[in-house]
């Protein structure tokens, strides 16, 4: 961090410029955002193996089948 006033001023100007940019963005209501998130989650739930559980027949990590040799 610069101690001299010129460096401090430039840094402040950058900060103000950034804040102006962020202040200007469009925001939607949280209720709308939350509703969309909920919909996305619920619509994709059936495709989510960790949520639905993986049947052992489809589970590539299932315990290896034992092989009996007679």
């Amino acid at each position: 961090m610069s101690n001299n006033s010129a460096g401090g001023l430039v840094s402040l100007q950058k900060n103000v410029k950034q804040l102006r940019f962020e202040a200007g963005i469009r925001r939607i209501k949280v209720s709308q955002a939350a509703a969309d998130l909920k919909t996305f989650c619920l619509q994709n739930a059936h495709k989510d193996p960790l949520l639905m559980g993986v049947p052992s027949s489809d589970n590539p990590f299932r315990p290896p089948k034992s092989c009996a040799l007679f």
Partner: protein, 349 residues
């Protein structure tokens, strides 16, 4: 001097304006909005594989998105992953068999991150050497293809956009986009005032988010380098960050022992995942395919599973004998991998 005072006043006024704008749209929170949603089922996952091979703490892991059509028989199978340990090695694992496919010795053993390129051709690592080293896995002998050297602080995270571009975050408080053909930085992302600890690419790869020791998360435009949005709320370092699969929200994990969801379009925190009994920092996080489940690794050796909509803890992965340092869910969502300072990786589903 007068101008500086004016600038400071303007900065304060803008901050107040932003807070007011957020409040104006803050008509509810995620948990309230999801009160009618059926609770997620109690999630009880079993360890399917324990991957033994590293000789020291594991710091990072990353799943490949390559579906390996040529090398393995099954189509659409996502099974390879890379892990990094301070034993000075990257190991490439076939998670299905549990076998090691490749070992990459590192010049510097102080590794903090590793990444798999979407093509499956390249991996990258970096850490206290301040560099990001890229390796080609497909040459007859694994070769170093580039050493990306420009950061003035440790490399905390790296993510490939393609075989020609990679994003890095650093303890020098910057993130950077590199051209892998020239080995030079194309864009430097400047705005954090603390070490950058983590980053996550948006699904469409036009933006990314970073988390830092200034307790802020920031959204960046990859092409023009602009910081678009800043998210506050955490009270300590943000160690982990991920885009939600819908791309409209992000999840963060912090040393303040909480995870949070921030919605990008509402520009604010919409839910916090916390429990009075939890007083360990969050080190890592990964989401299930629908985003419903958050797998968060903690310093207390566990990985807690959170319902992202309702904010409730729905399960725990216990089994490591030391801090869980990294977690990852592959693109097909079939399992979750945890890596630990106990030197093991575990695959659960």
């Amino acid at each position: 001097m007068g101008e500086m005072e004016q600038m400071k006043k303007e900065a304060e006024a803008l901050k107040t304006q932003i807070e007011a704008a957020r409040k104006a749209v803050g008509d509810t929170d995620m948990a309230s909005a999801a009160s009618g949603v059926a609770p997620a089922p109690r999630v009880q996952l079993k360890t399917r594989r324990t991957l033994k091979g590293h000789l020291a703490k594991i710091y990072a892991m990353h799943w490949s998105t390559d579906n390996n059509l040529s090398s393995l028989s099954s189509i659409g199978v996502f099974r390879l992953m890379v892990s990094a340990s301070q034993d000075g090695k990257l190991l490439i694992w076939d998670s299905h068999s549990g076998n090691k496919v490749n070992a990459v010795p590192l010049k510097s053993s102080w590794v903090m991150t590793c990444a798999y390129a979407p093509s499956g051709n390249l991996v990258a690592s970096g850490g206290l050497d301040n560099m990001c080293t890229v390796y080609n896995l497909k040459t007859p002998v694994i070769k170093t293809v580039k050493e990306l050297d420009a950061h003035t602080g440790y490399l905390s995270c790296a993510r490939f956009l393609s075989d020609t571009e990679i994003l890095t975050s650093s303890g020098d408080t910057t993130c950077a986009l590199w051209d892998l053909e020239t080995g030079k930085q194309k864009t430097v992302f400047l705005n954090h005032v603390g070490d950058c600890m983590c980053l996550s690419l948006s699904p469409d790869m036009n933006t990314f988010v970073s988390g830092a020791c200034d307790s802020l998360a920031k959204l960046w435009d990859i092409r023009d380098g602009q910081c678009k949005q800043t998210f506050q709320g955490h009270t300590s370092d943000i160690n982990a960050i991920s885009f939600y699969p819908s791309a409209n929200a992000i999840i963060t994990g912090s040393d303040d022992c909480t995870c949070k969801m921030y919605d990008l379009r509402a520009d604010q925190e919409v839910i916090s995942y916390q429990d009075a009994a939890l007083n360990s920092g969050v080190t890592s996080l990964a989401l299930s395919m629908s985003g419903r489940l958050i797998f968060a690794g903690y310093d207390d050796f566990n990985c807690n599973i959170w319902d992202s909509l309702k904010g409730e803890k729905v399960g725990v992965l216990s089994g490591h004998d030391n801090r869980v340092s990294c977690t990852g869910v592959p693109e097909d969502g079939m399992c979750v991998c945890t890596g630990s300072w106990d030197s093991f990786l575990k695959i659960w589903n």
